[in-house]
Symmetry: D3
Subunit: 320 residues, 6 copies
């Protein structure tokens, strides 16, 4: 795409104060003509899947507002992502407010439409059932590897009698053949468990599981290597449940679990994943009503920028 | 019931400081043996029906905590409700977290079980779909009149394709023959409308509608008379959507609508309804994550006490 | 305009949940082609003029978010404003972050551009210096009458050595010949004063001043009549400083003054001003960082809808 | 005093922005030389007497900060109190943090020292046990009448086994001969009661009790007359428990009771008490940790200004 | 006990959503029959001892609510504590609201009653004077070692003239022969000091003091070893003042001291103390009014679970 | 100075509870007679320079309030700064509310007046343009080295067309010959950048730049050494923009940038700078309206104490 037309850049915060104007993700242009888009950033205002605190339906709105802060260039990698391909805010999925399964289908259809236009999805949830739906939309690129930041493995079989929930999403994507479990890694897992076998579910599926305990034991560099080894060169997805962060850095979420990553941790980890072939991503579980200081949304906006930089570089590489 | 056994009173706040102990509604004893209960106060932690701000699933918890403030005697009527019959906190309905229709059935079953034990329900929602379910549990007493405090009529036919929602609950109860619309009155209606015919739905069903505009025009005394005239002597239900209050007195709710009742208004109105044959009630739509000062929960707790006083007096009258 | 083309309506909240999508004022279409617009709703993210609490620069963003709640039809008047002429969100003025006078000029230029396209301005401040600038942009319609809701008269001569401030804006517009003081009325004035002659400044300019004391003494109906008498049939402006409301209804503002209007008061007053020839308006001084419950922004969004209804009806009348 | 020296005025907010400088009550000079003071405004950071929510120990600090807003002249009466006699911030009582009785003695001693210098006390609590102590310091002016704004009568005999508490303070002052009950009036009483005889305690002591119910029934004018009739011309005290206000206007307090006064109510009432011989006052029960918007402190600061105006005018009258 | 009867487990969060039901500590059964209890978890709603910010009296209530999040199995150790012995929520101590010494006696009596039934105490304060009283109740097991997490040593001789305060509690327990100072270790100490000899008091008593500076210098593993060496095999107590955590992880406390432990630190440390013979514990100083995000209570609930796991394993070991 | 007179100490918190009394910085005496002062701590309530979130004008007020917590002795170094020379709260600069350049001049004049009295400045901003002005006031001691903690370099040439802004302050001070760039070091830089050359501006000026990435790479000890090497023995200034801290420790600031210093980091770093010849300092960018837990102000107060300890020791050294 980007070779065909002039790229539309975000509003320049050195010319327009960051508090001016409609809030789009990272000041991006709001584009409906998807054929001009390389990477579509969009919201999934949906939280019917939450089993504890609700509120993630307002996540996209809060992250858009917080992302006013984002400037243009990555301080560590020097990447100016908006100039390398056409990134756009492509709006929100119109998730049905009551119909859980219908909303899941709407999310999938939204991503399918992006793919039909050659665009890649960078989603902002919504509760962490959303990767189940986004991944379905990426079937054309399957099987995918995955880097999954979370405090919970999300690989139960059923949860309260349901197959599609935030607690089962990752198992589902494996069972549906979209994720290749051998190229999937879950990092940061911790928190009290349902029955002591919570992580074994993932292991039995074939995923690589790095609990927070193991992360601390092997260290950041080793884990980065392990992520790269696991995911390999094939197309991969990044799923970031904001509760991977310690609650001091992300209080505004459904199920805070103390003893997690700092923003510094995940910034460094993400910046070390350059070269991975990231073709889609979600950042989920920002719950604005539980975020009075707004720090959770600010952190999510920064992570969105980091992941976008990875996606853009991968996109440029692929198009070479 | 109460004649058969010694009534268990709430903890006495003149002997135990109000911040001491497990939070039950109004310091009531927590009773599982329903056959000893005359009026069962319970929570309905359910909010899947909300079409805007979620959070009401934590309403029962917040109102229990806020109700620590409640003492014993009604300052206007002198009623000491806890001494007149057995009031108890009978816990929460175990609402399914994903299955909307299942949860509605669970609520109904909970009330049916209360009724089977001869007890009357005083429910704390949850979103304002809950009266649809509570009323189903009161079928044995139907047809019922109703005093409905709200800013919205909740009498749409379908809402986003669904018959059972907070926007359709009251129509449903009429159609199911539980409410006698001729003995139903809706008070406090206001707020921008979907299509300008929002109140006509109620009128066409046969209900008496008193918008906030009309309330202000006729005055408090006239409206009290109108309520009494409409509801009459038959069994009746009180449904109190907390958004009937002005948002300055109830910011913690799903859909705040400015220009509503003050607590003083509704305290006086409720105290003037002595003698009505109230057999059940709900107080709904308290959304704790949007209530940083806790005022919404404090007000809901006070209203629960007022409605309880009405229910107790009616109960005593009936048992005479 | 509206006769020439099909009107673009806001997103329909009965089809798209209100928490879905980019936040524009009242779900309005975001339009840059001003020639198709009859009434342009826009933000003025500017607060350099504040002499106490800052934060109003985030007012437009917060009011856009809060206005997700607004539906379509006025419950008192039955007006469906969006269908009567083309209303649009036309973005924000790009106010310079440091250059006070430059920003004032930018605001004026923005309104002049609206006028050049035949559109009328409905502005969302920003601090309450903004009417000084908006009114300059309306010079082509001068002299204007004004209905000014505020707790302060804003008619000092200079404030901290400056002629253009939130404390002097209304005097300035008179001196510049844009306001006809004989057709201007200030309502709701109260609060401790600088020197006891604060209101006399307005009176000496020729304005009609209705302090909150006098409002309470004469009553709502009489004040409505007085507003209508003062403003007359000529073109008029509505300036609404949100601190006109009591701080219990608008805590998020720069200078809260207890003892003010309720939302109910101002809803009824505004709805009684149908027929006035309103050609422009501003709602100012919403300060999100001081508004943890969001009630101030919710109220401002509702007032914006009320004023819009007046402007639309006046527009339709003029075009007949 | 004031005739003897030049009065030191508060910092002029038209010359120094209100957010500049150390926070004293109403920008008053901080004076330790009490012999130059006519009216000493001071804090009582004490809350050991609270039986529910603590926090009032930070009341003086929060009210000082909020009182930055206060300008100079009363908008209704035109009184410029700071120019009529020497008003000063005379600091805080050094209340012992653990020793309840010791702290009470320290408060009394502080007021006695003010009296020894010919000054009158305007106290900012602290919990509402403080009037018991302040009144003891005013013994030289006894017997005193009282205007007591509260939602609770504070005339129990003992509370949790103690004679000196916020729930017994007013009875104590009567029993100690400091208050003349026949010249005392309690206004605004409401809220659920301990045993239904809560107000009778006051009546039996000889006080005039105006519950909020009666207030509403007789109206504002009649109550003002009743206050004036009750208190008469003798020296009198004003005790203002901030929970007299409705919780929507004063959420930050120990025991919020819905259905109370608005600020408008009490502003008008206080302004109508000109001519009463007010010789001391307290404003109590502001609890900053429960006041996230700061509205409670803002309202308390405004009430302090109103009461000060009464005290100053009475002082001028006496010195004539 | 547990061998004698069937253990009552907490409500299963995989069957009942965590927001459903009365809030007890960790969904535990509420049991009054103490003879069936092995470990009694209880609240001490008391904060008269605080010399700065109050509010800890609401600590038990907030921790109960936050502990809804806790599931069943420790993620690091695999321990399922609720299945190994009978753990129960045994309610709150009825602390007198005014009588400091009386309340201390009530706390002691409560623990003595637990001991008389063979149960061990896990207390949730309240301010950090509570270990002084809990330890008195554990005299039958004295002398005890102690692991004390705090930013302050609490070993002053007198504080504001009092021997029993949060600043003197640990010295008192030594002087009373309940703590064996040679088996006591204080970790995490930091913050500005009263006179530079604050830690020497502890050292002179014979305790091992590990300031945060020393902790950082020796590292986590060495400190764990030092704790184990100091405390040895004898019965020991864990006292956790939540201000041991950095204020970014525990803002809701009386005296926040920056530069402290992370949750990760203390989780790992506690999990490494398996095998210590822990016979009692308290978690104190959670102050809900200063905890708008609730993170402090969430962290305290998680720490309570960690300490419970230690107590349960020790209990099982002892009973073998 | 200190040799000439008796030093006035802060109020002793072991005798007066910390919540008692007017809030001055660290309970310091409020002194207007500057000739007796060695180190003047003062506020700069100014935030016109902010290009994103406003509010820092209330920074001095909030830090004064939070500094009630500070006791007397540094826990790491044992320094009791208040006893070594005369430290005083010397009030606030009367910054003009509208006139940016005038306010800058007022700040400079305030510092010049301190210098004329032989005192050194420890300023509390205000937005981070304030060092530009404070440094001008220190011209008599120039050229100065600097330790600058920040997430942004503040060395743009112009920002929105202005030379004196928070984004240009440090370049300005170099160009004006006040800072010797070869003795200046900036630490903690991070965050998305304007154009990728943000740090090069500083390097080209001749400053030593330690991004947070480099800090992490070299470690704390190496950075301390680098700071000491860079700054050397000459007079130096400390500028601490609170956004140098991670937002989890300082959410209340204008431009939060995740991934920054912890309080522990900066405490250790500052304590390791003993012996540097610090002659002035500022702590800036605390924005109270974005700090609902107050943690940002608490941290700033603690940092102020740390920097004061450095200044006092340097002062004692110089006077030897």
């Amino acid at each position: 795409v980007s070779s065909r037309r002039k790229i539309r850049l975000p509003v320049d915060s050195a010319e327009v104060p960051r508090y001016v104007g409609i809030a789009t993700f990272m000041h991006l242009p709001l584009m409906e003509e998807l054929d001009a888009v390389d990477i579509g950033v969009f919201g999934i205002p949906f939280d019917l899947g939450l089993a504890y605190r609700p509120g993630a339906r307002f996540g996209p709105s809060a992250v858009r507002e917080a992302s006013r802060l984002i400037r243009r260039v990555n301080p560590a990698t020097g990447v100016f992502p908006f100039a390398l391909c056409q990134v756009a805010d492509v709006g929100d999925v119109n998730c049905h407010p009551y119909d859980f399964d219908g909303a899941i289908a709407e999310i999938e259809a939204f991503v399918v439409r992006l793919r039909a236009n050659g665009a890649l999805p960078l989603a902002c949830g919504g509760d962490h059932v959303v990767p189940a739906a986004v991944l379905r939309g990426l079937r054309d690129l399957a099987p995918l590897g995955m880097v999954h930041f979370d405090s919970h493995p999300d690989t139960l079989d059923v949860f309260y009698g349901k197959k599609v929930t935030h607690a089962t999403a990752m198992r589902l994507a494996v069972e549906e053949g979209i994720l290749d479990p051998a190229r999937c890694i879950q990092v940061g897992l911790r928190g009290s468990q349902w029955d002591g076998k919570d992580y074994e579910n993932s292991v039995q599926l074939g995923m690589n599981v790095v609990s927070y305990d193991r992360y601390e034991s092997i260290g950041r560099e080793a884990m980065i290597a392990e992520i790269r080894d696991t995911v390999g060169d094939g197309p991969a997805y990044v799923s970031f449940d904001i509760d991977a962060l310690d609650p001091s850095e992300a209080p505004g979420t459904a199920v805070p679990e103390p003893g997690g990553f700092s923003m510094r941790d995940v910034q460094v980890i993400l910046r070390s994943l350059r070269g991975l072939n990231i073709v889609g991503a979600d950042i989920s579980e920002v719950s604005p009503p539980y975020d009075p200081t707004g720090i959770t949304a600010v952190n999510a906006a920064n992570l969105m920028f980091e992941i976008l930089c990875l996606m853009v570089e991968a996109d440029v590489t692929r198009r070479r």
